[in-house]
């Protein structure tokens, strides 16, 4: 059972945690000052350490180094002991046993740090075997260059051992390089050890610098986690060492490991600046939900338009012009790299209004193929009488033509030169001539239903709001969904384009055919939040940020998940979910 470690914040697999010692330590962090080794059982029988709440005691261990075969690992496996103090156990990533402690140190880190695939398999094996709320520690492997990626993979604690040793060898470490001191003309760092002439800088200074650089990098990483923007950093920083780039790409290929841990909503920008951005969970998840959950409810022609740099799109000048011409006679869907296609109802939904990509008009083949594939799947799922492609050259047109080629629909192209020039807008107006307008009510109802589809699952919009007379109140984008009696069911949250349910809404959700995400709790009435130990069970499908029903013998409520369903079920510490509304029962 985890007692002295708690995960406070998550950014994908990376976590901000707290080692709850007398003097609490925020992780990911250097653990040199708090790790106290209880001794190796290879050399002698070790007494059970007394431990102390001001340190993390490493229980006596038989470390199994990289390359130890299975038979030997099994024969010399360390057994669980009952520790009444903050304790860490040493396990091999090859056979990680749950020993009921707060933290686990991997004995074979030197074997897989440096290999992208090795790191991936090691971390995933360990995370599958050990409770989610325990800390993962790698000793003797961290550098300023690799630590961000280690944390991104799910590591909570490291130490400065290797940085010191490298300093003693005259290896000068930074977050972008490892250089031989002799090869440096200048010291590219502002730490105190580096505030002296290059000639006077010794290996002793190099040790101090390396440790300072590692500390600084960990501060940066922690800040990135708090901001939910570690991935943006990794995509750039990991470029400085090929194995690190390989490592995060390897994790991208383990979609479910990252997807389970990646929040469904965030309030901040997502920088899509590299070809790897396409493989981000947020991007893939949006494309997947738009093409497998969302359904178009308008009868009007589809109007494909290019995205705009300004978000939400409707705030942009170009989309304002499109809007004036379309005038509610077409269903506007924006095409964009890297997120694919964005139906107008989902323009606020994370990450549609949050991503920022680099616009040069140069599309890579990967981008084109990705957007084309999404558009193809989108058109397979949604029926339109007509497709009007109001898109310019430079990528957009190319993509649409690819899809056009294998589609039964006849695409109509309306852009001459630039989509906002007079001729193009005239063509668009002409193409829509005679089409009927949809009303505000239809627009708003379709928007909240579309968001419900996206958020809860295929056909959830109809299951929740279809067979009753709903009403929307408030001014878009702050819409409230009410039932026929005027009771509020949900609110649309403009910051990330999802629905926040009321208790009445939660009742409907539970009674409907829409897939529900439920946190089953013990017999208590939660206020403000549900803590992990109070969770009896949780739907496997819950992701951080998801709307969840909270249900127990004494209470029924609605709130937002802080961790994934599997993590709720496994954890003994931490906030599982916040509670927005609760009712005693």
């Amino acid at each position: 059972m985890t007692e002295y470690f708690e995960v406070l914040n998550r950014d994908g697999a990376a976590r901000l945690g707290e080692l709850r010692l007398d003097e609490p330590l925020v992780t990911p962090a250097l653990l040199d000052d708090v790790l106290v080794d209880g001794g190796s059982l290879w050399t002698a029988d070790q007494p059970l350490p007394e431990g102390d709440t001001d340190q993390l005691t490493v229980l006596p261990h038989r470390s199994l180094p990289a390359g130890t075969r299975e038979e030997v690992r099994e024969a010399f496996a360390t057994e669980a002991v009952d520790a009444e103090f903050p304790a860490a156990a040493v396990v091999s990533s090859r056979s990680p046993d749950d020993l009921g402690v707060d933290a686990y140190i991997l004995s074979d880190a030197s074997g897989f740090v440096g290999h992208g695939e090795g790191l991936k398999y090691a971390v995933i094996r360990v995370k599958q075997a050990l409770p989610a709320d325990t800390a993962l520690v790698l000793s003797g492997v961290a550098t300023p260059l690799n630590v961000a990626t280690l944390v991104y993979a799910g590591v909570d604690g490291v130490d400065a051992k290797l940085a010191k040793v490298k300093g003693s060898q005259g290896k000068y470490l930074t977050s972008d390089d490892e250089a031989f001191l002799e090869d440096l003309d200048e010291l590219p760092c502002a730490c105190s050890a580096c505030q002296q002439p290059r000639e006077e800088f010794t290996r002793e200074d190099c040790i101090d610098h390396n440790v300072a650089a590692l500390r600084a990098e960990l501060r940066r990483v922690r800040e990135r986690i708090r901001a939910g923007r570690l991935r943006d950093y990794i995509e750039g920083q990991a470029r400085h060492d090929n194995w690190l780039t390989a490592a995060f790409r390897e994790f991208d290929s383990q979609y479910s490991y990252l997807e389970t841990r990646t929040p469904v909503v965030r309030n901040n920008e997502l920088a899509a600046a590299t070809s790897d951005s396409l493989r981000r969970v947020e991007i893939q998840r949006f494309a997947d939900r738009v093409t497998s959950r969302y359904r178009n409810r308008f009868d009007n022609p589809l109007v494909l338009v290019p995205c705009s740099a300004r978000k939400p799109y409707s705030d942009s000048q170009s989309h304002g012009q499109f809007h004036d011409v379309i005038a509610y006679r077409g269903h506007t869907v924006s095409m964009t790299s890297p997120i694919g296609v964005v139906p107008q109802e989902l323009e606020l939904t994370y990450p549609a209004q949050h991503y920022d990509s680099v616009v040069t008009g140069r599309w890579s083949e990967d981008e084109k193929e990705f957007v084309a594939a999404v558009l193809r799947r989108y058109l397979d799922r949604n029926d339109y009488s007509r497709v009007i492609a109001h898109v310019p050259e430079h990528g957009y047109r190319d993509i649409v033509e690819r899809v056009d080629a294998d589609s039964a629909l006849d695409f109509e192209y309306t852009v001459e030169d630039h989509p906002t020039d007079t001729d193009s807008l005239g063509n668009l107006a002409a193409a829509l001539e005679g089409e009927l307008k949809y009303g505000k009510r239809e627009r708003q109802h379709n928007t909240v239903k579309a968001i419900a589809d996206y958020q809860f699952g295929p056909d959830a919009g109809d299951a929740l709001f279809g067979d009753i007379e709903i009403r929307t109140t408030g001014r878009y984008p702050k819409l409230q969904v009410r039932d026929g009696d005027g009771e509020q069911l949900a609110t649309m949250v403009p910051q990330y384009g999802m629905l926040a349910m009321t208790l009445n809404g939660a009742d409907r959700w539970v009674d409907s055919h829409a897939p529900t995400k439920v946190v089953e709790i013990d017999g208590f009435v939660p206020h403000g939040s549900v803590l992990a130990p109070g969770v009896v069970d949780a739907s496997e499908s819950i992701r951080p940020g998801d709307e969840v029903v909270i249900r127990g013998p004494k209470a029924f409520g609605i709130g937002r998940a802080e961790m994934s369903g599997p993590e709720m079920a496994e954890s003994t510490r931490g906030v599982a979910s916040t509670v927005r509304h609760v009712r005693e029962r």
Binding site: S40, T43, P65, R69, V72, G140, V165
Partner: protein, 358 residues
């Protein structure tokens, strides 16, 4: 052989696992050896209780260690060099001795005073070297001053030793004790006798008028640099305190093909010890009542004891110098920037954070 202690080894789990793995690893080798040729032979200089002698070292090919065929020691690749099938006949063994004499004649002016015979097993085990052969070899070298015979402690018997002492030879039994710590010898080396058996062998040797040379292994797998160093310091002190044990040869583990150590090494889980550790141990035990020597095999290479690559030859030279003179001041003559790294490794490396430096 003594039995493993019960606590960790219900049903000998540790030993079984090590043996299973070592058998598998050894099964990978394909090369075969001629039973009429010694495994190796060379001429060198050695420090003995009676001074420094020119020596002829013979690695006799006896079919290899029986323990190794069951699995054997985690670092030992010598069994991979033995003949297929196990036993080598008397005539073939004597052919090997002849080949060694030829080598000696070709490489020295006069016969060496000191003969050292190793078998990568036990020369005194009659299943390896029949009594007939043993006596013939005693006869062959009866005119020399001193002879060293490798054996596990179990095979050290009064009569086997008097076969040699009767010729007036000073006899040393070379025992691969590896470490005085039973737990490390069992779990890290996978060698199954106890320090008490070594003490008994020393007593038997002493009674027969022979002496014992203990061979220690610095840094078997699973130990950090510091644990390895401290184990050697303690082991040397304990060996030197045993009556009959007049010499301790403390040798750094090297990475041999077809061993468990090799697998750990290749996956990044093992580094041979630093030459600084060897020097440090010799320096710290210079006061003991025994000759302490070390012969780092493959020094300076990744697979042998090494420092930074700049100073390996100098430190090796100091070690060899110490072997002959037993004067620890030789180590004051060598220094290198990498001593700082070694010192950090000693302080920072743990068995769950190793190797910290290559």
């Amino acid at each position: 052989m003594s039995k493993p202690s019960p606590e960790v080894y219900e049903e000998g789990r540790g030993m079984d696992a090590h043996n299973t793995v070592m058998r598998e690893i050894r099964g990978l080798k394909e090369k075969q050896y001629d039973p009429h040729e010694p495994t190796r032979v060379w001429v060198d200089e050695d420090n003995t209780p009676d001074g420094v002698y020119e020596s002829l070292t013979i690695i006799l090919n006896t079919g290899g260690c029986r323990w190794a065929r069951a699995g054997g020691c985690t670092m030992c690749g010598y069994v991979a060099e033995s003949v297929e099938g196990g036993t080598v006949e008397h005539e073939a063994l004597m052919d090997q001795i002849d080949a060694c004499l030829d080598h000696e004649a070709a490489n020295t002016d006069e016969p060496a005073d000191l003969i050292k015979i190793y078998t990568s097993g036990s020369f005194l085990d009659e299943r390896e070297v029949p009594a007939e052969t043993r006596r013939a070899i005693a006869e062959t070298f009866g005119d020399r001053e001193r002879i060293v015979l490798e054996s596990l402690p179990d095979f050290v018997d009064h009569e086997k030793l008097t076969d040699f002492t009767d010729h007036g030879l000073a006899v040393d039994v070379a025992v691969g004790l590896e470490t005085a710590t039973d737990r490390i010898r069992h779990d890290c080396v996978n060698k199954y006798f106890d320090f008490a058996d070594f003490e008994d062998a020393c007593a038997t040797a002493k009674e027969a008028g022979a002496g014992v040379k203990a061979y220690l292994l610095m840094k078997p797998p699973f130990l950090s640099e510091r644990e390895a160093r401290d184990d050697m310091i303690e082991s040397i002190r304990r060996c030197a305190a045993v009556e009959g044990c007049h010499t301790v040869s403390m040798n750094p583990c090297n990475v041999q093909q077809y061993t468990m150590v090799n697998e750990l090494f290749r996956e990044g889980g093992y580094r041979p010890p630093w030459l600084w550790s060897v020097a440090d141990v010799l320096e710290r035990t210079a006061d003991v009542e025994a000759i302490v020597v070390s012969d780092p095999v493959g020094h300076g290479s990744d697979r042998g004891a090494h420092n930074c690559g700049e100073c390996d030859d100098r430190v090796q030279k100091a070690i060899k110098d110490f072997d002959l003179r037993q004067d620890e001041s030789v180590f004051e003559q060598v220094s290198c920037d990498c001593e700082r790294t070694w010192d950090l490794v000693i302080h920072e490396e743990t068995s769950y954070a190793m190797p910290l430096a290559r």
